[in-house]
């Protein structure tokens, strides 16, 4: 991980920031492409080429700029910038809790963007996104706490450099994280607030319904950053070796792709119940175990 590199070699934070901002969308876009290709193959189809997301992005940016009101763009920028900020924070080895709060701010601005128009679908999507936020946020915070208990620090750069892989001490938290990863990426069975790719949703495209063209492109870009952020967070569980971190991230990535293909969408009430019992339960058990 880059954070460790800074800690060890003292690379300037500016370079890390720049590298993150540039490299993350490339990785995120490619991963999205792989995701779509893999999903297609799992469904016995050929699927799009893996660089398809980049075509989509360029096309979206070249589309006519239409909006429902003048302020929609604001929320998209806030969402994107804060998402980048949380990823950069992670790469710079900052306080995990602070990163999570910035991350939450990013999600909230997307929610507000959905709310800002008088479109019922967009707003129902936002309401559901709030429910998703409510579901995963405590698990994220508990995860940070579990990591603190295991390593004695909230700083990512200290977490990386501390002794054993976190997986040894936090296996259940890792499992809980896998659950909320699916929630956060809005993949089936938790694709409640918006529809990914060609899924057909009762709320059309949920909170993205009213975003089109370049705005949608920016959100897509933010999604790539988000994907990289979440996978890097997963990599933290085996951060002692670069290969370990990549493996952990890859396992999470494949997990969510497969889960996405083999499950139907659930209702948000069920999601809340499931994440709060299984996700929180797993994390809590692990943390209680750490206390003992």
């Amino acid at each position: 991980m880059i954070g460790r590199t800074i800690a060890t070699y003292g690379i300037s934070p500016l370079w890390v920031t720049l590298a993150t901002v540039v490299a993350a969308p490339a990785i995120g876009g490619l991963l999205t492409g792989i995701d779509r290709k893999l999903t297609a193959r799992l469904q016995n189809r050929v699927g799009p080429p893996i660089w398809q997301p980049f075509h989509d992005l360029v096309k979206l940016w070249s589309k006519e700029r239409i909006t429902v009101n003048q302020v929609q763009l604001l929320y998209v920028y806030a969402h994107l910038f804060l998402m980048i900020a949380s990823l950069v924070g992670l790469m710079l080895g900052q306080d995990l809790l602070m990163i999570f709060f910035i991350f939450a701010f990013s999600s909230v601005s997307l929610i507000l963007g959905g709310f800002s128009v008088r479109s019922p679908y967009s707003r129902i999507g936002s309401q559901r996104e709030i429910m998703q936020l409510m579901a995963y946020e405590p698990v994220l915070v508990l995860m940070a706490i579990g990591i603190y208990l295991a390593t004695g620090s909230f700083f990512v750069h200290e977490i990386i450099t501390s002794g054993n892989p976190l997986l040894y001490s936090l296996p259940l938290v890792f499992a809980a994280y896998a659950v909320i990863l699916v929630v956060k990426l809005r993949k089936s069975p938790f694709d409640l607030s918006t529809a990914v790719h060609h899924v057909h949703q009762e709320v059309v495209k949920g909170l993205l319904t009213e975003y089109s063209g370049p705005y949608l492109g920016l959100i897509e870009l933010a999604n790539w950053y988000e994907l990289v952020f979440l996978l890097a967070l997963g990599g933290l569980f085996w951060a002692t070796s670069l290969w370990g971190a990549l493996l952990a991230a890859a396992v999470l990535f494949l997990f969510q792709v497969v889960v996405d293909t083999v499950s139907a969408r659930v209702t948000w009430a069920w999601m809340l119940k499931f994440v709060w019992t299984v996700g929180l339960g797993l994390a809590a058990i692990n943390i209680v175990w750490l206390y003992m």
Partner: protein, 131 residues
């Protein structure tokens, strides 16, 4: 979920079911109804096809020796092919390819035995040789 997991895993390790349409084209079934074409030199302008066509897409101009077809209204039921006494209408097994303009076709019979001439739009013909 586990039932589905088995299916998708089988899918992953088997060839996709996809027919790569423009690259590979499947031979149509022999009985396939693709589109109708006129063999205008056989036409006797009896008007039976016009009378029986459910979609009213054929207009036979006996005086002008024109056989007009609106291929963009034709429902390809094949009734005209069945009723034509001289087999002047044939059913092709290939579907008619998409077009940018929709204009009716007019087959004009110059003289018996001469090759047909389509006007004013070109007969879009078959999709096979296009893609």
């Amino acid at each position: 979920m586990f039932e589905m997991l088995r299916t998708v895993m089988q899918n992953l390790f088997s060839r996709p079911a996809t027919r790569l349409y423009p690259k590979e084209q499947r031979e149509p079934f022999p009985s396939a109804r693709g589109h109708i074409e006129s063999v205008i030199e056989n036409c006797i302008f009896c008007g039976l096809c016009q009378k029986r066509c459910p979609a009213d897409c054929i207009v036979v101009d006996r005086a002008g020796k024109d056989w007009n077809l609106d291929p963009y209204r034709c429902i390809i039921c094949g009734v005209c092919v069945e009723v034509c006494p001289t087999k002047a209408i044939v059913m092709s097994t290939y579907f008619r390819k998409p077009a940018r303009m929709r204009e009716p076709l007019t087959y004009h019979q110059e003289e018996r035995g001469r090759p047909p001439k389509a006007k004013p739009g070109q007969d879009p013909g078959e999709a096979k040789d296009q893609m």
